[in-house]
Amino acid sequence: MSEPQASSPRPAPPARANEPTVTAALAAERGLSAEEFELLRGILGRDPSWTELGVTSALWSEHCSYKSSKVYLREFPTSGPRVLQGPGENAGVVDVGHGWVAVFKMESHNHPSYIEPYQGAATGVGGILRDIFTMGARPIACLDALRFGEIDAPRMRHLIDGVVRGVGDYGNCFGVPTVGGETAFHRCYNGNILVNAFALGVARHDEIFTARASGAGNPILYAGSRTGRDGIHGATMASESFDAGSESKRPPVQVGDPFTAKILLEACLAAMKTGAIVAIQDMGAAGLTSSTFEMAGRGGTGMRLDLEKVPLREPGLSPYEMMLSESQERMVVLARRGREEEVERVFRRWGLEIAEIGEITEDGRALLCFAGETYADIPIEPLTEQAPVYRRPTAPPADLAARWEAPTLPDVGHPIETLQRLLDTPDFGSKRWIWRQYDHTVRTNTVRGPGGDAAVVRLKGTPSALALTADVNPVYCQLDPERGGMQAVAEAVRNLACVGAEPVGLTDCLNFGNPQNPEVAWQLQQSVLGLSAACRALDVPVISGNVSLYNETQTDAGLQSIYPTPAVAMVGLIPLLKTLPESHFDQAGDRIILLGRDREEFGGSAWLRLLHDLEQGRPPQVDLDTERRLSQLLRELIGAGLLSTAHDLSEGGLGIAAAEACFGKGLGARLEVSSPLELFSETQGRALVACPPAHSIEILRAAERHGVPAAEIGEVGGENLEFAVGGENFRAPVARLETIWAQALPKALGL
C-alpha cells in the first residue's frame, strides 16, 4: 500500500450540531477499518468531517475501489489491435470496422435485487445502460445473466417473477432489445441471487466520450431526475439518530424510471453533438460522490460543488445525503465555460432539469460547500489513487483432493428417459417464459434473438453484424475455479463460433463470496487465472467488468458463500453477414456431424447433479488449442455457407444438444453413439453440425485440415429423436420431448 502523501493540512470544516462527531468507531460503522481511518487522517493531516468520512467510505468501499480484487484483475489481458478503451472507463470500447466501435460492459445488481427484485433488477439494467450512453454510444442490445436458488426455496418464486418483470419493464420501455442471457438455478443462491446485466452500444469512432475532467473554470452541470434519499447506505439511520424524534428507517429503495432514462439518453447524445461537452459521467453507485471524484481524479483536477444548487425531490437533504444518494437517472455533465447554454437548451428541449452545481478548479482538491459553508475539503488524487489495496490470504479448500476424486458412475438407464428427465428440469427447460417478456426485436437489428447459442444483431449501414453470448458454469467453478474460468471463456467463444463470429472482446462479472475467507480469495485468484489463460490463448481482450463480493448468507450451516460465479459476456464480429446456420435442425435429409471427440468426462456434470444429486469429480479438461481450432473451423464452414445447423455442446452434453436441435422446427433425427454414457458426458471443445449430404465430405476434409476430430453420426428427419447405441435403438417422438421441455419452467414456477 502506497504511503499517504503529507499534504499541507487545511482547516477542518466546522463540526455541526446535527452531525455525529467522527471517531474511529463511527468510521468502522461506515465500513472503514482502523488502518483505513488512519490512512485518511494521514491524507488530511487531521480528523475528517462527517461529510468527508461519508465520501471516503463510499470511495474506498469494495464496490468503488476494488480493493480486494485489484491485485487479481491485473492478470487480465486488456489490450489488442481492436481495443480503443480497456477497463477503467464506464465501459470498454473496441473497433468493429467501417468506422464503428462497440461499447460494452456487464454489471451486477445482486443485493438490491434480493431486497426488492423488481426495482433491483430494473435499476441494474438502468445502471448499465447509462454506463454505455455516457460513453457516447447508443445502446443496441442487452443480455441478462440470472442465477436463482431452488424454485421451492422461500421467496424464490417472488424473486424470479420480480427480477424478470424488472429486467423486462425497464429494457422494454427504454427501447433496447434484450436478445439473450442465461438463467440457472442452484441451492447456493437460495439466500443470494445474482442479477448481472450486460449492455452493448455502438458509436462512430469520433463520437466516443470519456469521463476525464479538464479546464479550470468549466461548469459542472447536473442533469436528469432530482435527488432523494434513495439508497443512502444506512446513512440516514446514522444521521437521524442525532435529530430527535425522527424514527430511523431503512434507506428507501432506488426506483427506476425508464422513461426518464430514455429521454436522458436522447438528450445526452444530442448534447454531445454540440461540441460544448468536455466530459460526462453517470451517477451510479455512490451517486454524486463517485461520479464527480472519478471525473476529477482521472483528469487530475480539483472541483468546487455548491450543493445547495442540487435539484432535490424532497427538502432538507444534508450535504452528506446529497453526496451519497443513489437516486437514478442522473448525469454529471462537464461543459465548456461560456457554452453551457447550448447544453442546457438540449436537455430542456427534452423536458429534463439541468442545473450548474459547481466548477472545475486547479488545486486538485474537492471543496464541497452548502450555502457558502464548507462541508468537505479533501485532496482528490490521494483519495482516488491511494485507495487501499489488499492481497488477502488465500487457501485452497482442505477437501480439494476429495472433490476431485472421479465419481462412481450410476447406470444411465434408458437413455431417452434419462434425457427426458433432464429436459423436465427448469435448468434445461426452455427459457422462453422469460425472454417472451423481453422485447427482443425493437431497433430492427435482431437477426438471432434468444433461444439459440449466441444472439446476432446487424450493424445498420454496414455488411457486418455483432454476436453476443453470456456463459459460466458455477458448479465447474466450485469444483475447480481455474478450469471453471477457462471453460466459461471457451464456451463463449464456441457459442460465437456457432454463428460464425470472431471474438472481439469480453466483459465479466466476478460474483464471489467473502474475500476475507481465504478459500473465497483462492477461488477469486484461481478463477481469474483461468479466465486470463483462456483469454490469452483465444485472443480475447478483457475490456470491462465488475466485481461483486460478499455474496454470502446465513444458513443453518453458518455463513455460506455462493459458488464462485465469474460470469462472462463476450461480443463477436461477423464481418460479412450472409446466411447463418440455425441452432436447430433445418432440413430433413441433412447429415449430422459431431465435431470434437468425447473423453467420457462427468465431473460436475448436469446428469450427476440433477438426477443423482452428485457434485463430484474434476470438471472437464479445457484444451484451449482444441477450442481455438474448433472455432476457426466453425467460422470457416459457416463463412463458406456449408452448414444448415450449428449448435455447441455444453452443459448436458450430446444428448441435450441433439434434443435442443430437434426442437425449434420439430424435426426428428437419428444419431449413432458408442455408449449411453456418451450422451451425457460434458467433454469440451465439441459442436454438433448438420449439412446437406453433398457438403458432408468437404466438411470432414476441412475438419481434418484444422486437426479437429469429426464423424458423421446421423441424419435429420422423421418425427422421432432416435439413438442407436451399439445394436439397440432408443426413440421418442420429438413432439413429446418438446412439450416437456417447453413446460418445464412454467410448471416448476406453478404457472
Binding site: E116, S225, G228, D230, P252, V253, V255, D257, T260, R313
Partner: protein, 85 residues
C-alpha cells in the same frame, strides 16, 4: 357480506414516476394549482364474512402477503358499508 377497499401507495419518500408524469400532464392541460399527485392502486374486495374485525385482519394479511410490496409501498384498509360509501 363485507365490502372493503384496499389502497396501496408508493411510500412517501420513494420516487413516484407515475404521479410525477401525471401531475405534469395535468398542468400541461391547463389545470392550475395541482400541488402534488401520487399514483397508487385500489382494490375493491368483497368478503363472505360478516365480522368487521375478522375482515380487517384478513385484509391486512392480504396486503402484507400479496396486495402491497411493503418494501416500497404503504397500504390502507377501509371497510365500506353496504352502499359502498
Amino acid at each position: 357480506m363485507i365490502q372493503a377497499r384496499v389502497t396501496v401507495y408508493p411510500r412517501r419518500e420513494i420516487l413516484d414516476p407515475q404521479g410525477k408524469a401525471i401531475g405534469e400532464a395535468l398542468s400541461r392541460l391547463g389545470f392550475q394549482g395541482v400541488v402534488s399527485v401520487r399514483a397508487g392502486k385500489s382494490f375493491e374486495i368483497e368478503l363472505k364474512t360478516a365480522e368487521v374485525g375478522v375482515a380487517r385482519r384478513q385484509l391486512e394479511d392480504m396486503c402484507e402477503r400479496l396486495l402491497a410490496n411493503t418494501v416500497v409501498e404503504d397500504y390502507e384498509v377501509e371497510i365500506l358499508d353496504e352502499d359502498g360509501r
